[in-house]
């Protein structure tokens, strides 16, 4: 029975009375202070996925290339040649709204650790960002500038190239920016490692940075609650990242794995030592003893609960056989990663925390990891479209020329060069296509083949129609891979939504997951991992439902990787795919002040598969000189982008709707002789001309597109 004295405390820590009662029931007693702190984090939305775990079971996770599915630090797929690619996307939304530089930086740091925790060397980072309107919001400009600086700072310093990404600006994100970071890593199959602890008597070693008070309470205080008044007070909870420390940690861990010195490895993320220790023990069906007196501290006088829930960055936990501990310590000394024996694996099923030998917490592992109540969502389709955001823009340009220039200038369509010039996309010498050269990033493998990766998601369109919009994101991601000649191998996703306890948001979430599942089944692409970020809401309302999809694929010949720019005077141009452009959810509709209301174009799955296959095969065969999927902005913008990237014009004739959108369905391609395709024109000259409808100099197109973000970044 909860007493009057203890219930306010559990509520302060984010536990409901119902949850607290379950804790009492499972423990058979009141929890000790350290135990309550640990439980409050392990049972938070961020760690336990209590509102989404049941729903996520809908996603297909099987596939012939899958080596590790959801549940590990990162998913992994076989890419041939004895190599595996591990990858995952994670969000760091709430911390970034409080401190965008460190929030974005530590978001990158965290996802890097997830990837090398499974034994893969990180070889690429991509980021998917959402902010409010930069033209009217100084705060959004500030968040953009600081987040980009933070991503650059961390990724560049650690020597992992940032090879791609996307940024969208919508008033919907004004109070709740989104920072999703994706990482992919490479490993020989034998080096992949799981996190399950094993072998009672084995030693638990902590490596990396000292433990301080970073992020104390971060997981439950920030990530499971809506942002409200007084978030300045949460600033002491902000985590500070140190990429130099992580570089040493990464090299150390990879060497330990190459030498086969570890039984298991786990990174410390949300809820720090508590979650790592619990998860390692749970997966291995063993117990763990941790003595906090051995944890190297940055701050004097830290209490046991603080040590257990600290989110200090750049730390890893590993399990080592006693006979190999000396070798492990030697490798760690060489890399200056401060190794410390902090505990041991036990044959019990309990996580015990000791302080200099005295037990301060003693909890069954299952209570921490498995006993958190899971909640069913109560979805209810809203009676009227959800539209908490003010309509922006009401320009009525008179002709297609002006419309196209306005679209190219707009925040969502303009050049991202001022952003990606702050990133290093080439360190590692694997990058075959740089930003703006192709629809997906491409990384060469030693045998001459290559990995392609793209990250995509359009919240406005998902707001129009959650099921179709979420499915569309999957199709668009696959289209980006097809445009460079790659076949999809696997997918990771981050679901960024509002408060799932509200029926309309729950409906969006359920519909979006269904859409993703259906698209994955249609394309036969398994989900190998992902992340959920809920409660992205403010008193003004929820964000657009924003599922972000990261997809990895493979192409057999890196030298034949596709490009998006028109390449050669005289090349024929064609549209490939069953293109059904519509105004709903389009950038033009946004510019003209329309709210996001559906429906989105229906997709005939076989037609989509055929189109993706045709482009992929054409690129691989060298028959296509360029391929670019028709995405936001519609056909006119796609053609303009091909001209700008290629530095050459085009003359085409078509009746197709110029600004309607239908993502993931169709492509603009060019090549010397496009057999079997309906040719609509040719590459050449200094202007883009769509006969009878539009004519603009390529220089004018480039200039319109170039300006936008430079002003916002200051």
């Amino acid at each position: 029975m909860s007493s009057i004295a203890s219930s306010p405390k559990h509520r302060q820590l984010g536990l409901t009375d119902f949850e607290y009662d379950r804790i009492l029931e499972r423990l058979g007693r009141e929890p000790l202070e350290v135990e309550l702190a640990m439980l409050s984090l392990m049972w938070s939305e961020h760690c336990a996925y209590k509102h989404s775990r049941r729903l996520l079971r809908r996603l297909p996770t099987q596939g012939k290339h899958v080596l590790m599915g959801p549940g590990e630090n990162a998913g992994a797929v076989d890419v041939g040649g004895g190599l595996a690619v591990a990858f995952k996307v994670e969000s760091h939304n709430h911390p970034s709204a409080v401190e965008p530089f460190q929030g974005a930086a530590t978001g990158v740091g965290g996802i890097l650790r997830d990837v090398f925790a499974v034994g893969a060397r990180p070889i690429a980072v991509l980021d998917s960002l959402r902010f409010g309107d930069p033209d009217t919001s100084e705060r959004s400009r500030y968040l953009l500038e600081r987040a980009v600086a933070g991503i650059g700072h961390y990724g560049n310093s650690i020597g992992v190239p940032t090879v791609g990404g996307e940024i969208y600006f919508e008033p919907s994100y004004e109070q709740n920016c989104l920072i999703n970071a994706m990482c992919l890593g490479l490993a020989p199959h034998e080096r992949l490692i799981r996190s399950a602890a094993a072998g009672p008597g084995n030693v638990v070693v902590l490596l990396g940075a000292l433990t301080g008070r970073d992020g104390i309470g971060g997981a439950s205080v920030l990530a499971s609650a809506e942002l409200g008044e007084g978030d300045e007070a949460k600033r002491p909870s902000v985590q500070i990242g140190d990429p130099f420390s992580e570089k040493k940690l990464m090299e150390c861990c990879l060497e330990l794995l190459d030498r086969e010195l570890l039984v298991s490895l786990q990174d410390l993320g949300a809820a720090g030592l508590t979650s790592s220790a619990s998860e390692m023990a749970s997966k291995g069906a063993v117990g763990l003893d941790i003595d906090v007196a051995h944890v190297p501290l940055r701050e004097p006088g830290m209490e046991p609960f603080e040590i257990m829930i600290s989110e200090s960055q750049e730390r890893m936990l590993c399990v080592v056989e006693p006979a190999r501990v000396d070798e492990v310590l030697a490798v760690c000394e060489r890399w200056e990663t401060n190794p410390t024996v902090v505990g041991e694996v036990t044959a019990s099923d309990r996580l015990r925390v000791l302080q200099d030998g005295d037990v301060v917490a003693d909890v069954p592992v299952s209570v921490l990891v498995d006993d958190c109540p899971l909640y069913d969502l109560e979805p209810r389709a809203p009676a009227a479209p959800l539209d908490a955001v003010p309509h922006i823009g009401d320009e009525r340009p008179k002709n297609p020329d002006e419309t196209l220039l306005n679209l190219l200038r707009s925040a969502n369509m303009c050049s991202r060069r001022p952003v990606w010039e702050q990133y290093d996309p080439i360190v590692g010498s694997r990058t075959v296509r740089r930003p703006d050269e192709a629809d997906a990033a491409i990384l060469a493998l030693p045998d001459g083949s290559a990995i392609a990766v793209s990250i995509d998601g359009n919240g406005r369109r998902v707001a129009c129609d959650p099921r179709a919009g979420a499915a569309e994101a999957v199709f668009e991601c696959a289209a980006n891979l097809a445009a460079v000649g790659a076949s999809p191998l696997g997918l990771t996703n981050c679901l960024n939504f509002g408060n799932p306890e509200k029926p309309a948001v729950a409906w969006q979430l359920v519909e979006a997951v269904e859409g993703i599942a259906q698209a994955c089944e249609a394309l036969e692409v398994p989900v190998v991992g992902g992340n959920v970020s809920l409660y992205n809401e403010s008193p003004d309302g929820a964000i657009f439902p924003t599922p972000v999809i990261g997809m990895v694929g493979k192409l057999p010949d890196a030298a034949r990787a596709g490009r998006l720019g028109f390449a050669q005077e005289g090349d024929e141009i064609a549209i490939v795919g069953s293109f059904a452009p519509a105004r709903a959810g389009s950038e033009l509709a946004k510019l003209e002040g329309e709210p996001p209301v559906g429906p989105l174009p229906f997709k005939e799955v076989q037609a989509v598969r055929d189109a993706h296959g045709a482009v992929r095969d054409g690129i691989r065969a060298g028959a296509l000189h360029s391929a670019h999927d028709i995405a936001e902005g519609g056909l006119a913008v796609a053609l303009a982008e091909c001209c700008i990237a290629g530095g050459i014009g085009a003359k085409v004739a078509t009746d197709v709707d110029l600004f309607g959108e239908d993502l993931g369905s169709a492509f603009v391609v060019s090549g010397p002789r496009l057999e079997g395709l309906e040719v609509i024109g040719r590459v050449g000259g200094g202007q883009l001309e769509i006969e009878g409808r539009l004519a603009l100099a390529v220089s004018a197109l480039r200039e319109a597109r170039a300006g936008g973000l430079a002003a916002s970044l200051g």
Partner: protein, 217 residues
């Protein structure tokens, strides 16, 4: 011939330099804590963020044990190439004149730039012609070259290509003896048609030419 690439904690482009040098000769890594140059014919101090760029870029790396050997090697006339962070280390170590300051933009900049070969009579540019243009990428936050006194310029950014505000558009300089050379652009990232231009290969080929034929006395 054998290249040695120094590896500090935080070096990032060491492996890239190793790969580029391996196209031209043998190459090995030289660990910062060991006073052992393994008998290499040329030393490369690579790009990256040694010691996290703490205090000042290169300020701590210059005191690494291996750098004592590199200084000795340079004193004896051995060719030493410093790329980006390596250039910063060599300036901090006094093996090259001047210093690298924060870019005028105060931002990290990644860009493919055109360089002009000002001095082809060095062990690092002897495979180039005077005035030849090289297309090579830069990626740095602290690349603005500054030197109050006279300097021997080897490479300049072509007009309009200066990415960081370096005085006189200086991209790379040598010491008086001519055997130590530092540049901010990354030639090791311009050696493979698959990933960019191949103009950077000429720097490595020059070093091989020099070592094998002792072109530059």
């Amino acid at each position: 011939m054998k290249f040695g690439i120094v590896q500090f904690p935080g070096s990032c482009d060491d492996v890239d330099a190793l790969g580029a040098a391996s196209r031209v000769g043998e190459a090995t890594l030289l660990w910062h804590a060991e006073r052992d140059l393994k008998g290499v014919d040329a030393v490369i101090v690579p790009g990256g963020f040694s010691y996290g760029d703490y205090l000042r870029a290169g300020a701590i790396a210059r005191f690494a044990p291996v750098m004592e050997e590199v200084a000795e090697f340079a004193r004896a006339g051995g060719p030493v190439l410093g790329i980006c962070n390596g250039f910063q280390v060599l300036c901090e170590a006094g093996l090259l004149p001047g210093a690298l300051l924060p870019n005028t933009s105060l931002r990290f900049v990644f860009r493919q730039v055109e360089l002009e070969v000002v001095d082809p009579d060095t062990p690092f540019t002897c495979a180039c012609a005077r005035g030849e243009r090289l297309s090579i990428p830069v990626k740095h936050t602290t690349g603005r070259y500054y030197a109050p006194g006279p300097v021997q310029v080897v490479l300049r950014y072509a007009r309009g290509h200066n990415p960081n505000g370096s005085q006189d558009d200086i991209a790379g300089v040598r010491n008086e003896a001519g055997n130590v050379f530092g540049l901010m652009p990354h030639p090791e990232h311009a050696v493979d048609r698959l990933t960019g231009s191949t103009d950077g290969l000429k720097i490595f080929e020059s070093i091989r030419e020099h070592v094998e034929h002792r072109v530059f006395a």
